[in-house]
Symmetry: C2
Subunit: 755 residues, 2 copies
């Protein structure tokens, strides 16, 4: 690939980017797109949007970038949560380290590479091959290879220092976030799975007895998990409809457009009519309560429960200690956030999980290797000669310079990009099958899978298939890998540069444009006549964006010393990404749950992996160039980097696994002294209600003190619990409720048809 | 190698074995060797040994085998502890599985292998090459390979079933052993390391404040760890001498030989004289107590302490929960047994440990590879042709059949064996440098290192260097390994058979003979005129014996289907081993500390590794023989075996890491109800006294309730603690004690010279 082709590609991409960003700056000002571009604001701030017509609405402006960058870290923390801050920190880290690398490599190494061979071979710069700017152009046993080695040292050292301070500050932020945030029910709650089945007593009695006996001083109450059947699903859907109707009344958004009358699109009735039915339905529920749903309850109960404790420390201890001598029974974990619970996985038997985990792992690996097919095809495109040999009829078309440049410089990345779109949903599916108990756990697991997938398929397969026919041959001889990589990476550097241009820049444009939401919103609003639904604001797709940013980091590190020409393009990507991601986190996405920066260790480890990979490739290059001194120093560098990683793991990683006794106890004491504890404890039970909030009364049980349980009274008390109408007795009462809801819908429908 | 050579080798070994075992049965009856062959009985049972002269004493008899086999498992458990039972279980497991394998393979596979080629090629059986009995003799694409595959299935399936029940029963035994054993101080004690240094308060105050604040309800007291200097070491040695003198009076062993007068060999004085000095020394200590050793104490304190808790559960919780938000500070672990504490490692700063662990790991790997040199040489011996080419002058000697048979059949194993003797001490040294806090931890770590070392150097290097010139080439192409192994293992089977004969059988003979102890005992007693010292009974060398048994298991599994001729020899080894190890555990070795069967997971994992390796090699063989059906079935088998291992890990392994809340709390309640708790708690402090038992008064501190600490009184109370003469104030008072002890020795010496 020539400089000319690169410039063509860059030109196309810069043009497209500018076009999309201008388009975005116009589109975001249209009131119709508020729900697309300001979803979070609508949902969380209930802000009204002025709908004044002005010419300004149709003039593109970069003011949104300025606005996005004005927010401080504290503001972002309070708006979008710690996860968002950690993600932005990753982008900032990338900007910092690649600025350093760009200065060092572009001014130090690029001239060395270019003038590595005798000058007479050089053509005019625009038609110069890009390979002339890589380390491949440096002479064998060159005296100047120590400069490359020094640059590698500077980059590695700066990266380690920056990483260390990032890890330290994020660990600190996690702690502060945890201690300063308002009391969270999840800190007091433990998810118990693998409750042993017994014929004598139902699960709920077993849980109560176990925790009263072994954690009597700190056990508060518990909430069983119920298995959701078909009827339940129908009912949940019915309730969703119901909620939407209710929302129409409650919301104050868009009041100016359709004041006072909330016409239901389905039936045309006003909300008042509906209000009537709501009361009716409530009444009917109250009337038709039956006391004896014992046998049904037992059938549907799962071997899982949320157990509530009096203090954070007690919950933390209960979640970490082995409960029973059979490790498959009474398995305890800290419960996820109430909003974060992945209810449909909770009923899975704990014994199944290990096999599910292995199964999905194997499935992911198979998927990863099947993906070789399109990648190999794409790879073929960038080597045009091979393509022409295979498809001789293309010769005529490919002879035209522009087409040829387009095919080599642009098409491969686009095709690869299209195939890559199916990866995140697939990995999310695998992760859901794995059986995580929280949405965030599922997303983090998918993030890891997508990360491995991306690095393997974009980096390794492209690099290795460029130089060897079969990748499998290379995997089977690890000793050869450094040399193979060293030969291939500089050669594939041009592909990576175009990849940054197309995939990187384009992904940011498409992210900011939200093309899919925009089209969907248009159809929903103007074709189906739907309404904005503030409840359906998406969460930030960490499982696609984190792997993407980390992949570009990997490309940056591996190419920085070998082919520094990639660095300016990468810097532009990260700078643009900084503005775009800030904007999106502040305006578009909603943070429904929070992991407290749990993704940072993954980011840290991947960055260290990238560094070590870059060093190993450099080692291979120095080996090929027969520079033993540089090789020796690089080996030392690899060892030092690995030691640094191990130190960070020892020093910081445990903080990301659990909180310390010291912090937990101090928070407990503080709450105890301020008298807030009672209030917090009363909120635990409602928070972990399996069924939607408006049926909250179903879950409200009195908090039982351990004094309730003594001698004969306890057994009678338990029986009473079951016949108690307000206990979580899902099936009968809930079925009735569902039927009444459906009957409302039928009535509404009838009314409409009568009219 | 021919059958003839094998029989020669077997003959030599059977002869040697019989000789050694007969010699042992005579030697053990000699009263002079009591301390060599009945060390444990002497030390623990204080049994007297009858010294009646009879002819019976000089007649070899196998009665010791009968005696050793008479004990039940319960008796061994009570005598030698759970670790010994677990080790014997491993031997029993090996006997069972290799009995099954021998029946299946010798009757099913051996004839198939032998008649695999056309009969005309066969010579007379005694001069038949051993290769004729391996799978190498089976024709390509033979119809009979499914029998091999079936045999592999039977062996693998039996092994998994046996392993499952062993794991289950050992996990159960561990639990029973833990709950039924008398209260152990280590269950109530937590070892804290990484106590933060502060200029304001000494470590002991920091520990007290921290645990009173965060574990106030369960914290009992603590005991600082002191750094041992040169003077302390001299003093400890002096005290050891003192203890030996004291022991001479207390012991009732050997009373009939030298009744009433215990003459000290050093000075000739009677024990009465000594008794006088002992009182004197006690007096002098009491007299010269000085009150103010504050500054000295502070200097020598380490950032480590034993913290005692009121209940087992509290200690277990404190050891598992992260204490401070900096994971390098306040690091807690359950304390080892008092007898098991490795005092000289306790003062190591916790921050150093991770780098020490990495360092020793690297050192072990380097040591493993350096060992290639002698192994390659040994390997050369078994392939005589190569040797003759290299050293032409040997041709004359080697032409003699007997010498040739000796060199190929016997010498290689002997040389390898001699080199292998230096491995366990080296690994013990590495493990000590790693910084474990207990002797058992050090031994287990050394056991793992020796295991990896043995498997690598005895199995892999021998196998691979037999077929490829450089091992490193093979490591670098993992895809080739199954094929290479498949080619090499049947070829090296003869070496492994001789290895079982020489190394296996000989190791048992030497184990039972205790040659080194015997010689040392002889010299000590009859040349230097020393006395039996019951305190110096050795502990069982798990770090050499477990890897040895596991290695033979590995050889058995890998060769069973390919070269079944090894199985009878192996069975003899395990049967003999069963008798020998029982005998040694019952009579010779003392169990000073107990890990509760912590080695079983290692044994289980290694056995599964051996199984999978055997299956992979079989896979390679089926591949070479072009039997795709057998290959397919073997792949399934590998996956099933790995799944089985994962299931066992999930189901049983957590029990070996910590005990469950349920068990701990029930034990606590039981002790509480029986009123034993007070008594147990009072014994905690003396148990973890850093300095020898007779100076116990130094460590006796009153147990402080949390009520002691309130307001101003606490600070004064602490000062008092330091000036208290009975507090662990090592330096001055102990120095005085040492000096007085030395002066006693000098006096005794003077007395003698006067006489």
């Amino acid at each position: 690939m020539k400089i000319y082709a690169l410039l063509t590609s860059a030109g196309i991409n810069i043009g497209l980017c500018a076009l999309f960003l201008s388009l975005y700056s116009v589109l975001r000002k249209q009131p119709g797109n508020v729900s697309v571009y300001f979803g979070r604001r609508l949902a969380q701030e209930h802000g009204r949007y002025r709908d004044s017509f002005s010419l300004e609405r149709f003039v593109p402006s970069p003011s949104w970038i300025v606005k996005a960058c004005q927010y401080t870290e504290e503001e972002i923390l309070s708006i979008a949560g710690l996860d968002a801050v950690v993600f932005l920190r990753l982008v900032v880290f990338s900007i910092r380290i690649f600025s350093i690398a760009a200065v060092v490599c572009v001014f130090g190494i690029l001239p060395l590479n270019y003038f590595g061979q005798d000058m007479q071979h050089h053509a005019h710069i625009p038609s110069e091959s890009l390979d002339a700017f890589t380390i491949g152009n440096v002479k064998m046993r060159s005296q100047w290879l120590w400069v490359h080695c020094l640059a590698l040292y500077i980059v590695s050292f700066s990266a380690c220092v920056l990483l260390y301070y990032e890890y330290k500050s994020i660990a600190g932020m996690r702690l502060v976030y945890f201690t300063r945030s308002p009391p969270n029910p999840s800190h007091f709650t433990v998810l118990v799975r693998g409750i042993p089945k017994s014929t004598e007593e139902p699960f709920t009695v077993a849980v109560k007895n176990f925790f009263t006996k072994y954690h009597g001083s700190s056990y508060l109450s518990h909430q069983m998990v119920y298995r959701v059947g078909k009827i339940q699903k129908i009912m949940t859907n019915a309730e969703k409809v119901y909620k939407k109707f209710v929302h129409l009344k409650d919301t104050d958004f868009d009041q100016r457009h359709r004041p006072h009358i909330y016409r239901c699109r389905l039936c045309g009735g006003t909300s008042n009519t509906f209000q009537l039915y709501r009361n009716e339905s409530d009444l009917s529920v109250k009337k038709t309560d039956l006391g004896h749903s014992h046998s049904n309850t037992e059938e549907k109960e799962c071997a899982a429960a949320f157990v509530f404790f009096r203090t954070r420390y007690a919950a933390s201890v209960a979640s970490q200690v082995l409960q029973a001598s059979n490790p498959m029974l009474w398995v305890t974990d800290l419960a996820p956030d109430p909003h974060d619970v992945y209810w449909s996985n909770l009923w899975l038997p704990y014994r199944q999980l290990w096999i599910r985990r292995i199964g999905t792992l194997l499935a992911s690996i198979v998927f990863m290797f099947l993906f070789l097919v399109p990648v190999t095809f794409v790879q073929g495109l960038s080597q045009l000669d091979q393509l022409q040999q295979k498809f001789p009829f293309l010769k005529g078309i490919l002879k035209k310079t522009f087409v040829s440049q387009l095919v080599t410089g642009y098409l491969p990345s686009v095709i690869l990009q299209l195939f890559l779109y199916i990866v995140p949903p697939t990995m999310m599916l695998f992760s859901a099958l794995e059986g995580p108990t929280s949405h965030s756990g599922r997303k983090n697991s998918a993030c890891l899978k997508v990360l491995y997938f991306t690095i393997w398929n974009v980096f390794f397969v492209n690099v290795l298939s460029g130089s060897v026919i079969s990748q499998l041959n290379v995997i089977s001889s690890p000793k050869e890998i450094p040399t193979q990589l060293a030969k291939a990476v500089p050669r594939q550097a041009t592909f990576f540069i175009t990849y940054v241009l197309t995939s990187g820049w384009a992904s940011l444009s498409s992210e900011v444009m939200q093309l899919f939401s925009l089209v969907w919103n248009f159809f929903k609003k103007y074709v189906f006549g739907g309404k904005d639904d503030p409840a359906s604001v998406p969460t930030f797709p960490y499982h696609t964006e984190v792997p993407r940013v980390l992949l570009f980091g990997l490309l940056g590190f591996t190419c920085s010393v070998l082919a520094p020409l990639i660095l300016p393009f990468l810097l532009v990507y990260f700078l643009l990404g900084y503005a775009v991601y800030r904007n999106q986190l502040l305006n578009v996405y909603c943070s429904k749950y929070e992991t407290g920066g749990l993704l940072w260790p993954t980011m840290h480890n991947t960055t260290v992996f990238s560094l070590v990979l870059a060093q190993i490739i450099a080692l291979g290059v120095f080996g090929i160039k027969e520079s033993s001194v540089a090789s020796g120093f690089t080996v030392v560098l690899v060892i030092l980097t690995l030691l640094f990683n191990e130190y960070c793991r020892q020093r910081f990683h445990p903080v990301f696994k659990s909180f310390s006794a010291q912090d937990l106890i101090e928070m407990d004491i503080e709450d105890e002294q301020s008298g807030r504890m009672e209030e917090i404890q009363q909120q635990l039970h409602p928070a972990y209600c399996q069924f939607p909030p408006y049926t909250q009364d179903v879950c409200d049980v009195e908090i039982e003190g351990p004094s309730d349980v003594d001698g004969q009274d306890s057994s009678r008390g338990l029986e009473n619990d079951f016949s108690h109408p307000t206990l979580p007795g899902f099936p009968l009462s809930r079925l009735r409720r569902a039927v009444s809801l459906l009957s409302i819908l039928v009535k509404l429908q009838n009314r409409r048809s009568l009219k």
